[in-house]
């Protein structure tokens, strides 16, 4: 896509369900303080003891956030998604009763959709011996349920799309929304993702892959330590986040506040291995996003890294960044906010895009929490630690999302000019 001939895309609204209970602004302030939302999570329903560090949203009240009519017929992943979308819509100054419009759409991401509903159905059939499942099982569990409820609630009559690209799902959903606006198919798209992965089968599965950070109840908040020497893994998280993306003229005409421009989207597939990332594939995605946004290495002031906290993944991402940024890599501020909000799988890209947008808009870069000694294999960039960076002259920033399956998605944002 040629940046000079396509339509520009503005970010005009941000919304989320925060594990801290407040709004996106409060969430970002806590990220800047290096505050961890990771807690020790005891699964409430399993007979066998199931405990892990995790990020959850205890203050989230689905009925209050999305109404009883929706909350009573939806899986938690949809509830988190609709709530985040409503917040972004309000933040963009759009009235909830705006007339339905065919030029407005939804682009959503989720890795595992309504797993809690599926797990409940299996429990009833296999464990409790029931011979029937709830008639709402299909409508609650389907991966596009969140997107559809958002479209129905807000009268969005354009394309209603759902992407499932593992941990890059919502970076892809945002990037594909960007494409639809660029090419003229839509003037406004609400894009983001949601995930509710704290189902016992999902927690057990990640445990079995030996990818969950090691800790105990006391040390849980410090369990996720991306780029740290001796890091032990990731922390599962639930959550939802949304961005309102608008064609530039559309945003200006209605006098919308513009946070920044989404200027580039790079995608690639490693085509090497299902779960082992490859630096060359990541390099291609970062390069593509920067090229489309017209950014040189020296223009990019911050990268919100994928940085899940895994032994292999973190090192490979840094080697990709040093390859792309060359002599500028040592100056490039990099942090992984997953150290604080955990890994929300299909919602991770949207949460991190929201953080990247606020970092740009405020000139503040959040740190990688719990990072004290950078691992040798993760050296080569300017790791942001401690209290983060304030009063920066940030003009452009990237958000990386690298998924199982080898799918890479990179979003390039820049300040409005």
């Amino acid at each position: 896509m040629n940046a000079h001939t396509s339509r520009r895309v503005a970010v005009t609204g941000l919304g989320m369900v925060s594990p801290f209970g407040g709004d996106a602004s409060d969430f970002f302030a806590r990220m800047m303080r290096g505050e961890s939302a990771v807690r020790w999570y005891r699964h409430p329903l399993t007979r066998s003891r199931l405990e892990q560090p995790a990020v959850f949203c205890p203050a989230f009240d689905p009925e209050r956030a999305v109404g009883r009519q929706i909350s009573s017929v939806t899986d938690r992943f949809s509830q988190l998604g609709v709530a985040a979308a409503f917040c972004a819509w309000d933040d963009a100054g759009l009235p909830r009763d705006l007339a339905a419009c065919d030029a407005h759409g939804v682009s959503w991401g989720t890795g595992i959709g309504g797993t809690l509903t599926i797990e409940k159905g299996y429990t009833e059939v296999y464990e409790l011996g029931k011979n029937r499942a709830s008639p709402l099982s299909v409508a609650m569990a389907m991966n596009n349920a969140a997107a559809s409820h958002i479209a129905i609630s807000l009268g969005l009559g354009g394309a209603c799309l759902s992407y499932s690209v593992a941990c890059a799902s919502s970076a892809v959903s945002i990037g594909e929304a960007f494409r639809r606006i660029q090419c003229g198919d839509a003037s406004l798209v609400i894009a983001g993702g949601s995930e509710a992965p704290l189902a016992s089968s999902v927690m057990r599965a990640w445990e079995a892959m030996r990818m969950v950070a090691e800790c105990d109840e006391r040390t849980a908040p410090r369990a996720c330590r991306p780029f740290q020497a001796g890091r032990t893994g990731l922390v599962l998280a639930e959550g939802g986040a949304a961005l309102v993306l608008e064609e530039w003229g559309h945003a200006c005409e209605r006098g919308a506040r513009i946070y920044c421009e989404l200027a580039g989207f790079g995608q690639s597939c490693d085509h090497k291995h299902l779960v082992r990332p490859d630096a060359a594939g990541q390099v291609r995605a970062v390069d593509a996003a920067m090229r489309e946004a017209g950014l040189q290495a020296s223009d990019v002031g911050y990268v919100n890294a994928h940085g899940a906290g895994t032994r292999e993944g973190d090192a490979i991402e840094i080697s990709a960044l040093t390859a792309v940024f060359g002599e500028h890599a040592g100056e490039l501020a990099v942090s992984s906010t997953k150290s604080m909000h955990g890994h929300a799988l299909g919602a991770a890209g949207a949460i991190e895009a929201l953080i990247t947008v606020l970092a740009l808009a405020r000139g503040e870069i959040p740190p990688t929490a719990n990072l004290e000694q950078v691992a040798v294999e993760c050296e080569g960039v300017r790791h942001v630690m401690g209290a983060g960076l304030r009063h920066t002259n940030l003009r452009a920033a990237l958000s990386n999302s690298f998924a199982f399956g080898g799918s890479n998605a990179v979003l390039a944002f820049r300040l409005a000019t």
Partner: protein, 80 residues
């Protein structure tokens, strides 16, 4: 619990603004029961009253029509 009480409980649990008064003339859509949660209501009624709705159930529009279907099935069950 009779069928009207079941319906009132259900509406209280599912509707954003459950109406004070539900009468036989109330339209299902107006009291917050659409085709999706009607499925769940039928499921609950089947569990509670041991009845079975046929797949080709006519789509009821009012509370009265729904209760008539409930009662007919319950009566058929008692007579069986």
């Amino acid at each position: 619990m009779n069928t009207l009480e079941l319906l009132r409980e259900f509406v209280k649990k599912h509707a954003d603004n459950p109406p004070e008064n539900i009468t036989l003339d109330s339209k299902l859509l107006e009291i917050g029961i659409d085709s999706l949660n009607l499925l769940e209501l039928l499921f609950e009624a089947e569990e509670k009253f041991g009845i079975r709705f046929p797949n080709d159930l006519p789509q009821p529009e009012t509370v009265g029509q729904l209760i008539e279907i409930f009662d007919k099935l319950q009566k058929a069950k008692t007579q069986a």
